[in-house]
């Protein structure tokens, strides 16, 4: 009897709550679109493209305002999101530092598996780039011998210790048995600029960051770290083709702070699904060498994050946190 009563009471409660719960949620104030990297980099370009598409297609009643929080390899952004727990008006464009930064900075107090997964927009790729002035470097072998010849004078630019490119740099150091000097810059765009200006010797930029310089003939890719050659770079061999077992991707997903309301999550998921399916986004994916087959979301994305996090723990253990942070 008590059981029935409780049931009835819960049903009544549900009935009362239902209209609120299922009412269409939509942002009531501008949405902060946090980018955990600097301006001009891949994450930044993507976030700003998405923000523009949201406005152009009038997908949100309130504007999305992109805010860069690149500090401490994304630590600033992660901490900010953690502090925004339960907030329905903040979402974040993430990259792999989403996994690596909390692993390397244990006292950050952030567990990304608690964040609210919204949608995986793309998997981004990496290539090894040098300035076209380097006539002596034409392929991976000549690159490796040039690096070995230069020793620590060889400067690799990246977006920060613990960022994905530093992980990839550490993986290359382990595979080719050389050591380089890794210099962090705020954002992939600045890294690209410093390669073109010969301030650094090589980078592992994403295609979108180097694309315009590549088209202008200022930089050249040597290797791509993908499973198969990308359509945008048909003449560049993959590391695997050359017998080097490095394959590394960058996730580009949108996530909310911990404890976002389910209605809000649903609204954002639909929003980003619409963006994902748009012609503009799919075109961008092709031109910038992104893999965008289907948008992962919800539990599937949560699983993906958990797996990726574990994979990065293993990766960092293998190459050593010191190799990544340069300590």
């Amino acid at each position: 009897m008590t059981y029935l009563k409780t049931l009835a009471a819960s049903a009544a409660a549900l009935a009362v709550m239902a209209p609120a719960a299922f009412a269409d949620w939509a942002p009531r104030k501008p949405v902060e679109f946090i980018i955990m990297a600097g301006t001009g980099g891949g994450a930044d370009q993507i976030a700003r493209l998405l923000q523009g598409l949201i406005e152009k297609k009038d997908l949100s009643p309130r504007p999305f305002i992109p805010i860069n929080k690149p500090g401490g390899s994304g630590a600033e952004a992660l901490r900010y999101m953690q502090d925004k727990a339960g907030d329905n008006h903040t979402v974040m464009m993430t990259l792999n530092s989403f996994y690596t930064t909390p692993i390397i900075q244990e006292d950050l107090g952030v567990d990304v598996t608690e964040f609210t997964p919204i949608g995986l927009m793309a998997m981004d790729t990496f290539l090894l780039w040098v300035n076209t002035d380097r006539n002596d470097i034409t392929d991976l072998d000549s690159y490796v011998s040039a690096v070995k010849g230069a020793g620590l004078d060889w400067k690799v630019g990246g977006t920060g210790s613990g960022q994905e490119d530093s992980v990839l740099t550490a993986m290359m150091e382990a595979a080719f048995e050389y050591e380089v000097t890794y210099i962090p810059f705020p954002g992939g765009g600045t890294v690209a600029k410093n390669l073109i200006g010969n301030q650094i010797d090589s980078t592992v930029n994403n295609p979108s960051e180097q694309m315009e310089f590549y088209r202008a003939g200022n930089s050249k890719p040597l290797v791509q770290f993908t499973g198969e050659r990308m359509a945008a770079f048909p003449d560049t061999p993959t590391a695997k083709e050359l017998g080097v077992d490095i394959e590394y991707y960058m996730q580009r997903s949108v996530n909310g702070p911990p404890g976002m309301d389910p209605e809000a999550v649903e609204w954002y998921t639909n929003l980003f699904q619409t963006l994902f399916d748009s012609q503009e986004w799919q075109d961008f994916c092709v031109s910038d060498g992104l893999t965008c087959d289907a948008m992962m979301n919800g539990a599937e994305l949560a699983n993906f994050h958990a797996t990726q996090k574990d994979a990065h723990v293993a990766l960092i253990e293998q190459v050593g946190a010191g190799a990544i942070t340069g300590e």
């Binding site: 700003r48 493209l49 523009g52 305002i65 900010y80 900075q105 210099i183 765009g189 301030q199 694309m211």
Partner: protein, 505 residues
């Protein structure tokens, strides 16, 4: 040269098309408004109004946003001068002399100087942009971390000129600013540092505007309350034609500072990562250092208004250069413009000039027109802005207080920052009472992170060898200039002392 003129002509024609001309005026007006609201800067304005631009063709769209950007640079000066609250971070240096001028009943002069200097700064830099965009882009690429640090060193050297006579107090103020700049995350390793009392809120650091609004808004308000006992109303200014004409005649008083600010601002603006705020502060410092009468700065010298205003407008044009030629924004606002360009189907980068000439030259043409539009709008509106000062101080004080609180909260969205702002405001007031200069602290919090990053990048790349700063030509030049700047006021002072001793003897 000829091709440039032909392209520019086409660009100007484009700017005079009715839609584009309308966009310029609308943008300038919107910019003036967001610029003069504390806490709302060009970044917010451009971000909020970006969607509006999807209704028009790309060229009209960027013209609107670029006009908004300039308008905001002008607008920032308005609240700096009339209320003493920097309307935007780029207008902080304008407070230094603009506020004292308003208190002396010369607000119209200050506003006029700001408008004219901005016009000159904007025009000089757009001319430089037109003529030298590609070579300047190539030059910007030569700027590695070493050069950036040397430039920051140069900026710090201007502090000596900023601090007045008391060098130990200036150094103290700089250090205070640097300590505040260091709060948050370590730039290179990403570890949190200087987290006072283990409060997680400190991880986000102390924003530059929090300090600037605190010191200048609240600190200044307390100071004025104390010195006037709330009795005095501001000097009312009657705008007459005769007075306007007299004000125009004063241009020669600040023309040198304006030129200095224009060139410096443009140059600093073109460097990615620097932007208009450091440019305006450096310009102020340099103008003071080279002035015949440095002691009058900070007490209402009109050149102290013109120098930073010329620089921040010049820098806003300058920061378009790396955006267009390299695809790397020179300021937060251009970062948003960059996003807009990607939507419009344009890919900023080295090929934009050749692939989308209509767009680039239309933008450049519009910059010329936008400068004229803003100066006209601004001069016409001076009588309206001045009315703010006719309010009794008992009314103005609470308004300033509310605007300060609102301005900080609007930018950072945190009550924590608002409290910090109030605490810093009281601190700034005490510093003033004890005769400590506060401007160096403001400069240090802006330049500190930039200097730290470039210093550490340089030392990592040279593997700890400090000679890296003097073995590269551009860096060496900057370092030498910095040394000259530091010694200049010292030498001058020593000379003056000797002269007066001689006279006494």
């Amino acid at each position: 040269m000829e091709t440039i003129l032909v392209s520019l002509g086409a660009g100007l024609m484009q700017a005079f098309e009715p839609l584009n001309l309308f966009m310029i005026f609308a943008g300038c007006l919107a910019g003036l408004f967001v610029g003069c609201m504390p806490g709302l800067g060009s970044v917010n304005g451009v971000a909020i109004l970006l969607p509006v631009t999807f209704l028009v063709p790309p060229t009209a769209a960027i013209i609107f946003l670029a006009a908004l950007y300039y308008g905001a640079m002008y607008g920032g000066a308005i609240s700096s001068i009339t209320l003493g609250i920097p309307g935007a971070s780029t207008a902080v240096a304008t407070v230094f002399d603009g506020r004292p001028m308003a208190q002396q009943g010369k607000a119209d002069k200050a506003l006029m100087a700001a408008a004219i200097a901005s016009f000159i700064g904007g025009t000089v830099s757009v001319i430089l942009f037109t003529l030298f965009a590609p070579p300047l882009a190539a030059f910007a690429l030569k700027f590695g971390p070493q050069e950036e640090f040397a430039l920051m060193l140069l900026a710090f050297a201007t502090f000596i000129g900023l601090g007045g006579d008391d060098i130990p107090k200036t150094v103290f103020s700089i250090l205070l600013g640097l300590v505040m700049a260091a709060i948050g995350f370590d730039i290179i390793s990403g570890q949190p540092r200087m987290i006072f009392f283990d409060m997680v809120e400190f991880q986000r650091g102390i924003g530059f505007l929090v300090l600037a609004i605190g010191i200048y808004g609240i600190g200044e308000m307390l100071w004025t309350l104390e010195s006037t006992k709330g009795q005095v109303t501001m000097h009312k200014v009657q705008i007459t034609w005769a007075r306007m004409k007299a004000n125009f005649a004063e241009v020669k008083k600040y023309i040198n500072s304006t030129w200095l600010g224009s060139f410096l601002g443009f140059f600093v603006g073109t460097l990615p990562a620097a932007g208009a705020t450091p440019a305006s502060l450096m310009s102020y410092g340099l103008s003071k250092t080279f002035s015949k009468d440095p002691d009058s700065y900070g007490k209402g010298n009109v050149a102290g208004v013109a120098a930073p205003e010329a620089a921040n407008n010049a820098a806003s044009t300058g920061s378009m250069l790396p955006m267009i030629t390299l695809g790397i924004p020179g300021s937060p606002t251009t970062a948003i413009l960059l996003g807009g360009m990607i939507i419009w189907g344009l890919r900023p980068g080295p090929l934009l000039f050749t692939e989308s000439p209509d767009f680039v030259w239309g933008l450049i043409g519009s910059m010329y027109v936008a400068n004229v539009a803003t100066v006209i709008l601004n001069l016409a509106m001076i009588p309206i802005f001045i009315r703010v000062l006719a309010m009794p101080f008992t009314l103005l004080t609470p308004i300033i207080f509310v605007l300060c609180v609102l301005g900080v909260f609007a930018t950072t969205d945190r009550m924590f920052d608002t409290w910090i702002m109030l605490i810093l405001g009281v601190g700034g007031y005490l510093m003033r009472k004890l005769n400590y200069p506060v401007a160096p602290a403001v400069l240090a919090i802006v330049l500190g992170p930039l200097a730290e990053r470039s210093l550490r990048q340089s030392l990592i790349s040279s593997q700890g060898d400090v000679t890296t700063f003097v073995t590269r030509p551009i860096s060496l030049t900057c370092v030498l200039l910095a040394l000259a700047l530091i010694s200049y006021p010292l030498v001058q002072r020593a000379l003056r002392r000797r002269q007066s001793q001689r006279r006494a003897a």
